[in-house]
Homo-oligomer: 199 residues x 2
């Protein structure tokens, strides 16, 4: 088993999907959370200057979804066949494209709120409708067992619902999928135990 | 061998990376190019309403990079180890994040040009510096052989250089990597033979 060290801020954000994969698979890792005040010092020491990064026996992997996909594959949560793996990747990228629309770093709170409201009101419905259609009456988004795509939906929708609590009210199947992920014992235990942060 | 049908516009754009993987591996596929005029009719028939899509024996995979990663894995171009595959994924996502900054669909030509110039002048240098450092004096971006990350650099930088021809002048190693990709016989043949399009 390699030595894993995950570096990110003390936020769920772009690292939480990897923390779910560690939790679900019971893999030991260092959950290294840096202080915002230390970031300017740390940034120049990291290839491509962004977190999260994952160190695997000292090799640095960057990009949140590259990290998570690596962990998903190592722990059997990436999909059962090459095509299922591609479909899980596609769902993850679709959700991620949506998350990327938000101006997360905007400092002006009025501008930020206006942009968030616009996206949540005008752009979210199409994503949710398409995701709901894709899920249909299946238990999990891809194939017959849970994958990291289900985890990613739960992780991202938790943040979205904190911005707009009625966001998924028209889509009981997507809410039920959240419930199923949250009820997985290792995930339930992690949600209970993790540091409480806004994002 | 599955039946492959790749659907996109008559552009390089988000499908070209997959066309490179087909070309390099000598895999037979249908390179289906739709007319812009037909798009409104086709869009509602496609899950998540975006192209490219790849049909694999009738199963539809969406998201350009999910498609390309699937093809890269099937054809041995994804990286030689799990960590190398993660590093190739990370490089691809880093380049893709940059490409996503551009307002490709902006109709107002003044607004479009201003935004493109700003990104190419102010944001490109950091990406290029980081990529150049990552490549170092290696032949390929990841591991000891060519991967889809090298192809993605060539494909994306071709579009960027058409906007700003001196973009990579400070980075001869990145230009040489472009040359190496373009000199691969199957890629050279595809570049020669492909439909000539602006993007
Ligand atoms: Mg994307
Ligand atoms: Mg990304």
């Amino acid at each position: 088993m390699p030595q894993y060290k995950l570096t990110y801020f003390n936020l769920r954000g772009r690292a939480e999907i990897s923390r779910y994969l560690f939790a679900y698979s019971g893999t030991k890792y260092e959950d290294h959370r840096i202080e915002a005040a230390d970031w300017p010092k740390i940034k120049p020491t990291i290839p491509f200057g962004k977190v999260p990064i994952l160190e695997v026996d000292g090799v640095i992997i960057h990009q949140s979804l590259a990290i998570a996909r690596y962990l998903a594959r190592e722990t059997g949560l990436a999909g059962q066949t090459p095509v299922e793996q591609a479909l899980a990747d596609a769902i993850v990228d679709t959700i991620d494209d949506f998350m990327t629309l938000f101006p997360w770093a905007e400092k002006n709170q009025d501008v930020r709120k206006k942009a968030f409201d616009d996206i949540l009101t005008n752009k979210a419905p199409e994503l949710l409708k398409d995701l709901d259609t894709f899920l249909g009456d299946n238990t999990w988004l891809v194939g017959k067992s849970v994958t990291w795509a289900d985890f990613y939906w739960e992780v991202c929708s938790t943040t979205l619902l904190s911005c707009k609590p009625d966001l998924a009210d028209k889509h009981p199947r997507l809410r039920a999928l959240r419930d199923r992920v949250q009820a997985l014992p290792a995930i339930a235990a992690w949600i209970q135990k993790r540091p409480k942060t806004v994002m």
